[in-house]
Symmetry: C2
Subunit: 331 residues, 2 copies
């Protein structure tokens, strides 16, 4: 029987506040380049007051992935918490308008924590440095997981960033049990090397026991398997997880499935804003996989989608990804 | 004595909600193409639910003008009302971060009206159709006008759209009196042909009695002087107003000063989003004027700035306008 959803994503619901700056601004303001740092509301207010004019665009790693799948026509849903405030309304609107199912209990206007936001500082090289105030998104808990929805998904997609939060590990465990109990499968993205450092044991246990498809980049997979040898890290991952899809910046990506390994070249483009590259890689890969495409083709679609999203400001696709895949002979 | 401000702008404080759509969407949803329509909150909610994923970027016609002057290094300030909500915080941030002075009494969180927003629908030809919920911005009143600030301005810049509102005519009168009383001068933009229809008598009186510099486009100046003859409209305007700066889309602009008339060609570019073209035209023109440039040069700067802002999404400049003027030999 066809399940209702090809992919259900769970992650931190965020509106991105995108602003350009020089590298010197990062150093002066204690922002580490190229990674995600968690900040509290005071720091968010202080940093926001220092950055230049900005654009507000819905983001959130797994939400970007789900938006990509929805844009491709995939049957997809998202789970993540926002407040009933203006940024929350923007986040809800943008996911639904893209075609994803997003039913969430909005936190009331009286709640102290606001909808999460991420101050994304884009330097002239297109690299992004993310400063995340989790806000209400931090409180995702088992009660937020609808087991019927998970059971009706071919795949769930878990965002590594969501490991930060008092009850999120329990929420993930509930989602995994409901999915697997109904024959569904589990994908996860490692999200960030520093996030791995914060939750290494939980990640390791999940990889050993539950994960069928792992997304990571070079730095993350090396951090996860605690080795400087990228090749060894790929092999270690593949020994635990059926499919490994690992990005390697301008060198493209590696897809590993048991003894098979494919290298997929990146699609060259001028990098305007790297935000969302990994998210759209995962989205296109999962869409390809759940539509019966070969793993190598899934990797090619993933690299094309990543290339599209870094060619403009914002972490969600603007071009028609399906048309792009057809242009490149993948559909 | 040098005044503190070269230009103080007064207008509707707005955050733009920018979304792409096909022309058929406009027809289906009763949106008239290429103009500004006022909508209430119910219509704003209903229309927002129908549009696709969007980007939120600070807008507001006069605020865009002031942002352009600030980006050029001009001494400038803005007057317009927002609420102490998340969109209000975005609007305040973006103007201040651009370098403009913006001191406003924020409406309290308890106020019913929210910060104004404009749902901007951009069709494939780059034309924009604007749907404005004025919100708190509508209630600009004489009490919001700081006469000391107006007296300390070489020029004030009045947004025609701001004629919509119960106390805005009185607020404008107060601003004009304070400015002129201290030897300052008055510029105004007609904003929109339908806005002229709503407030024809008030516009006419202001042009006869107070205005030193008029900004308009072809449709607006014809509507204002109730003639189908563009040339006659320009002459009628010039008979009342010292300087007329009138845009004419891809045909550029006409600058009229008494018996002198200059035609300035447009700077060709691919139109991505026409939002803000007139606003940045006015900003660059006023910056040039208050820095002692000849009227024709002011017109050339204005066309360059308009060309920059229509080459990307959003109504505020992204490229360095000063660098652009230098490249074209204007500085």
């Amino acid at each position: 029987m066809t399940k209702r959803f090809q992919v259900v994503g769970i992650g931190n619901a965020m509106v991105d506040v995108l602003s350009h700056c020089e590298d010197a601004f990062l150093a002066t303001n204690g922002v580490e380049k190229g990674i995600m740092q968690l900040i509290d509301m005071d720091r968010a207010v202080d940093l926001y007051a220092r950055v230049g004019p900005a654009k507000e665009i819905s983001g959130g790693s797994a939400a970007n992935t789900i938006a990509g799948i929805a844009q491709l026509g995939g049957r997809t849903a998202y789970v993540g918490k926002v407040k009933n405030d203006q940024l929350g309304a923007i986040f809800v609107h943008d996911l639904r308008a893209q075609g994803a199912v997003y039913e969430t209990a909005l936190a009331s206007k009286a709640s102290e924590a606001e909808t999460g936001r991420c101050i994304v500082l884009v330097t002239p090289d297109g690299e992004r440095s993310m400063n995340t105030y989790l806000g209400w998104s931090e409180f995702l808990a088992p009660d937020d997981i609808d087991t019927a929805m998970m059971a009706d998904a071919d795949w769930i997609f878990l965002e590594g960033y969501r490991f930060d939060g008092p009850q999120s590990h329990a929420a993930f465990a509930k989602a995994i049990a409901a999915t697997k109990g109904a024959g569904g499968r589990v994908s996860v993205t490692l999200s960030d090397p520093f996030c791995i450092d914060r939750h290494r044991a939980a990640f390791a246990k999940m990889l050993r026991e539950d994960v069928d498809l792992l997304f990571a980049n070079r730095a993350e997979i090396k951090s996860m398997f605690e080795t400087e040898d990228f090749d060894a890290a790929l092999s270690a991952a593949a020994a635990q997880v059926e499919i490994v899809a690992c990005t390697d910046s301008e060198n493209g990506a590696f897809i590993v499935n048991g003894g098979d390994r494919w290298h997929v070249p990146a699609v060259p483009t001028k990098v305007i804003d790297a935000t969302g590259a990994g998210d759209l890689f995962a989205g296109a890969f999962l869409w390809g996989l759940t539509n019966g495409h070969e793993l190598e083709s899934c990797g090619r679609m993933a690299c094309l989608a990543a290339s599209e999203v870094i060619s403009h400001i914002g972490a969600r696709p603007e071009a028609d990804l399906g048309a792009l895949f057809r242009q490149h002979g993948l559909l």
